[in-house]
Symmetry: C2
Subunit: 229 residues, 2 copies
DNA sequence: ATGAAAAATCTTGTATACAAAAAAGATTGA
DNA sequence: TCAATCTTTTTTGTATACAAGATTTTTCAT
């Protein structure tokens, strides 16, 4: 039942499919994405595939090496740390602005999302939690009332999705994550922009040993080699 | 004398050309970019043109409306304010990290860039100042030792380039800009990360009446209509 | 058996061809 | 004269064709 209102280039939906396939690990980092194979897999010609790959390259998910093809980008651990460092700052900035600018309706949406997270946790539903968590953070992006910032934050969050999933596997992460959410909601609701910024920054950074746990998870997932810069 | 070391897809150099043509105003905001015309202008087929347009769309410079073509994106004033708000935060973050992580060599590079700015100002060379200023900020991005952040900052700075040029036309802007640079260098050199962050944030934000001057410049430049969201 | 050089194959990058959607223009009825 | 509909033209989106650069395989000399 496809009721698309705006027409979409085929290449664009292909991009989404490929994005998903990369995120789920169907095409792990380093994989060469053969245009002809992808074309036959999706039942289209090479043209829309190429266009999708170019979009993916622009968003940083794949790397196009001229005359040699598109490869799923290897993200080294240091690079990942850098990306999380920036993500933390996006979140902090969204929180700082949201504390000052959030509307009553947006605050309700944020609280609802927070409750959904709590429900998923009591229900012991990790996938549900993951999804609700995403909604929670999106609510903050929107409440920043800076559309450009919201786009950047969503974009990077999306690129880090696969790794955030791993992050939640760290022991007790979900429980402490919920406590942090509560502090964030409180800070935003009371209009304390600096508290909101700090809480969100820390929430993303996962400082101390937690972070090491996380890194070791990623290492195991990627295989030993720290590899490319 | 083209001594390109890495091969480049034709589409990629086309993207750079078009980027320049948009920045210089050859194709002003709202212009429809006709694939066939561009193809004949550059003496290539539509294929590489399309690929270049897709890249430009990904970077946000143009908008592709399915089945109706590519248009140079209109950036509304509110949107521009949002982008500067994010730019300010990128700079602040780079400064905060640079104050902690800068190497002696990088500090020398930063001071050299600062002097180049001063020389351009005494020489009364606005273009020279513009360029030296860019070098100065790039030096800070690099000194952050966060390659991902540096890429984001460079990218956005590049997208805002045309508007920053306008910004400098505001009366006395260059002089006060230089004073701010000095404060930034001092903060970074002394390792005061919060001072560096604050100085850089303010440097970009151009608060108070300065900002209104700037906005009115932009309005005049774009024509009256505040237009699209 | 090993390594270098040459040939064959594969793959990308670009050009061209064609179908379908939009836009522009012509035609008809009021 | 104006509006609505039909027709023509333009333009995008996708498929296919082809050339040149990679890659792999084969061949040959040591």
């Amino acid at each position: 039942m496809n009721m698309t209102l705006t027409p979409v280039r085929r290449a664009e939906s292909l991009r989404e499919s490929l994005e998903g396939d990369i995120a789920t690990g169907l095409y792990p980092a380093g994989t060469r994405l053969d245009e002809v194979k992808l074309a036959s897999r999706f039942g289209v010609s090479r043209t829309p595939i190429r266009e999708a790959l170019i979009e993916l390259a622009a968003s940083g998910l794949v790397e196009i090496r001229p005359r040699r093809g598109a490869f799923v980008r290897e993200i080294s651990i240091p690079r990942l740390v850098e990306m999380f460092e920036v993500m933390a700052e996006y979140e902090a900035m969204c929180g700082r602005l949201a504390a000052r600018r959030i509307t009553p309706e947006e605050l309700v949406a944020l609280q609802t999302a927070h409750e959904a997270c709590q429900n998923a946790e009591t229900a012991g539903d990790p996938d549900g939690y993951f999804h609700a968590n995403q909604t929670f953070h999106e609510a903050i992006y929107l409440a920043s009332h800076n559309g450009f910032l919201a786009e950047q934050a969503s974009g990077l969050s999306n690129r880090l999705k696969a790794y955030r999933r791993l992050q939640l596997r760290v022991r007790n992460r979900v429980a402490s994550s919920l406590a942090e959410h509560q502090a964030i909601v409180d800070a935003i609701a009371s209009g304390d922009s600096e508290a909101a910024a700090t809480a969100l920054r820390q929430h993303v950074l996962i400082q101390g040993e937690r972070f090491n746990d996380f890194v070791s998870q990623v290492s195991r997932h990627q295989g030993a080699g720290g590899s490319s810069g």
